[in-house]
Amino acid sequence: MSASSLRSLPGLASLAAAAMGVALVLALVVAPEDADQGISQRIFYIHVPIALTAYFCFGLGAFKALLLLWRGDERYDLESYVAIHQGTIFGALTLITGAIWARASWGVWWTWSSNQLVLFLVLFLFYCAYFMLRYSLEEGPRRARSSAVYALFGVALIPVSFLAIRLADDFIHPTVFTRDGPQMSATMFATFCVCWFAVTFLAYVLYRVELAGKRLDADLRELREVLQ
């Protein structure tokens, strides 16, 4: 990671914090209250962007894994790992905020009858197992390749999880985005878009910060070996 790239991080972090601030004000104050769900619908503005960001991070991790297998450049291994780590954090947040929303809307924290919930849990647990695989192998090209192949398998679950609600006769989980467009008012949709951008941007900044830390750690380890 170049010095100029590292120098841009504080600026990007400030922008991400500002974007999150704007998103929170829009979601909690400006957006109108939903006629059906009432105030609990406001969880939608944080839950759905976080879920989409988790999918994006898992997808990015798989893309970097593909690049590793294709080009053989080991830097993609760390990039894939960090993206999947981010995806797992956002995945955990998706499950927690989803459980809270379920409690507010359905009166239960979890239901096994919703395919989308169960498939997202499967996806999350699949990527949790990625870390078990990764840390059970010794550092080196073999670990990088095995992790990359595993990450690529996981990406197949993303469209299944995303489309589960549309493929099954499941009317518990709400479907907001249909072929007729978003089923909400223009203000609500604008709020959702801002929240989505803010959460994705936050994930991008966290990805960059974590990647910079990991690379710095690796460089210092190498330097210590040279000096000792």
Binding site: I43, I96, E210
Partner: protein
């Protein structure tokens, strides 16, 4: 325990905030460790003979003639 809808909304946003805060705290702790390690390595490098003096001493024993790199006189 029965929570109102408003409390559940506040809980959802608070969980996200706490997660991000915890993540930033972990990264900050890691950066502090990296800073300590960097200071240690700088100290370690200072205790070692400097690169220039090593090269200087090596040159005293085996000066390199331009165009004949690697061959000691």
């Amino acid at each position: 325990m029965s929570l109102s809808q408003g409390e559940l909304v506040a809980m959802a946003y608070a969980v996200v905030f706490v997660f991000v805060l915890a993540y930033v705290a972990i990264i900050a702790a890691k950066l502090a460790r990296l800073q300590r390690e960097t200071t240690e390595l700088v100290e370690l490098a200072r205790k070692r003979p400097s690169t220039e003096s090593v090269i200087g001493r090596a040159a005293e024993y085996a000066p390199i003639v331009p165009g004949e790199q690697g061959r000691a006189r």
